[in-house]
Amino acid sequence: VFHGLAAWSQMNTTRVVLLACGSFNPITNMHLRMFELARDHLEDTGQYRVVKGIISPVGDGYNKKGLIEASHRLEMARLATETSDWITVDSWESLQPEWVETCKVVRHHYNELLTSEQSKDDVDTVKFAKKRRVEENSFEGSSHHRKRGDPQLMLLCGADVLESFGVPNLWKPEDIAEIVGDYGVVCITRSGSDSLKFVHQSDALWKHRKNIHLVTEWVTNEISATHVRRALRRGRSVRYLLPDSVLYYIQQHELYSSESEQKNAGVILAPLQRYTS
């Protein structure tokens, strides 16, 4: 009976892949903590099983001040995730010649996920593979309408990203609706923060509140990449704020200086450029 129960609950938990988009300039322990907190929270609901985390650094075309080359940011993220058995780094977004809307990045990874599921099916017994392919075909063109057993992709972010949904011209409203409505968001918030209120005050977010998972971070861990870069420019120690391997990489390549911080100074952020023109 217990075996049956365990199998039943396995069948009824949705597999989740967490996707984090951002500059990762550089990646810090806080970024990595967000994944751990999100996984604990989702699995604690009994409804989800987190099977993978993806870190997707933004491309150089984002034009953010002080944003160093994507190749370095990718390598640092790779070094940082070496000790994790479930968090990975993906270069697709960073390799695009121009800045890509987060919504498109989410779509890309969801399609990748479905493709890999399909190839997994191909090695299943013929009977099941056939059956699933038939089902999949009937859903063509609306890839985000999941069927039972399909994994779910959720965007992992901090409260600042959630709140950025309210910044004019930074996001297309239909993109927000798609990300929150069709995929879902896991948002890490500090205890006592206003994220709940923010969701409440936005009709677009309120509508999809069931797809917004707010995770309270009880242990404040405000390691921002901006702070890390500032400390590095000033020759202060950043040890234990990011993995040692990342720190060595930064030192080896002399990555963050007053000069690198001036990159893209005065340049308008790509999303703002795109949506205001």
Binding site: R33, L37, V219, T220, N221, H227, S237, R239, Y240, D244
Partner: protein
């Protein structure tokens, strides 16, 4: 190393139950700050876990706390663990621990210069300057001076007067206020170095133990080898947290006969 600078060793006393990345950060922040004064050259750091006799709730065996601290400091080039305090059968007053380490450090210094430095730490002109020892602590430590019966007045006097404190603030705790509200700390304020941590990082060992008991992840809050060690020895559980439950903290018992400072001090 700049010749005119005073060599400085930082000593951190505490439970280290378990040691966290935040403990390790304290050392980094303190070193940067002391260097920026232009007066000191930090030459070493010591982590000194308290002995089992301290009687604090949830305190696991010193041998484990020492082992974890050692694993965490494996990759540090300047901070190390010392067992002396943890091996004392009874709880040791912080000042007594400081006297022990300062004596040891001075002896080492004398041996290295081959001359005699007096106990005030003034070396002979030829030998360079004798090292000093200061206590490294978090901001909440300053508030502990106010707890009745926890500290002897003469010990606080010796601690801040003769040795000195490097105190790293975290979160919204206000060390400036703690200094202001204590006559003794104010008197020696030039020997109390307040380091401002601009990043709010409130990883406490209590939170780490709580997460571990509940089966939640503590990765990136404490070093991987320490997590590994905790798992292997199944260290932090509901039953380990009940250790010393209801026990009066040893300093409160040991110093009960001593005149106790009032809260309004």
């Amino acid at each position: 190393m700049a010749k005119h600078r005073v060599p400085l060793v930082l000593l951190a006393c505490g439970s280290f139950n378990p040691i966290t990345n935040q403990h390790l950060r304290l050392f980094e922040l303190a070193r940067d700050h002391m260097h920026s004064t232009g007066q000191y050259q930090v030459v070493g750091g010591i982590v000194s876990p308290v002995s089992d006799g301290y009687g604090k709730q949830g305190l696991v065996l010193a041998e484990h706390r020492i082992a974890m601290a050692r694993l965490a400091l494996q990759s540090s080039s300047w901070v190390s663990v010392d067992e002396w305090e943890s091996q004392q059968p009874d709880w040791t007053e912080t000042v007594v621990t400081m006297r022990y380490h300062y004596g040891r450090i001075l002896k080492e210094f004398e041996r290295s210069v081959g001359t005699h430095a007096d106990s005030r730490g003034n070396g002979t002109p030829l030998s360079g300057r004798a090292p000093r020892l200061k206590l490294l602590c978090g901001a909440d430590f300053l508030d502990s001076f106010k707890v009745p019966g926890l500290w002897r007045d003469d010990h606080v006097e010796e601690l801040v007067g003769d040795f000195g404190l490097v105190c790293v603030s975290r979160g919204e705790l206000q060390p400036e206020r703690a200094v202001h509200e204590s006559d003794l700390l104010s008197l020696h304020r030039r020997n109390v170095f307040l380091v401002r941590e601009w990043v709010r990082n409130e990883t406490s060992a209590t939170e780490v133990r709580r997460a571990l008991r509940r089966g939640l992840s503590v990765k990136y809050l404490i070093p991987d080898p320490v997590i590994e060690y905790i798992r292997r020895h199944d260290l932090y559980t509901e039953s380990s947290e009940r250790k010393n439950e209801g026990t009066v903290l040893r300093p409160l018992v040991k110093q009960a006969q001593q005149p106790v400072k009032s809260l309004d001090d």
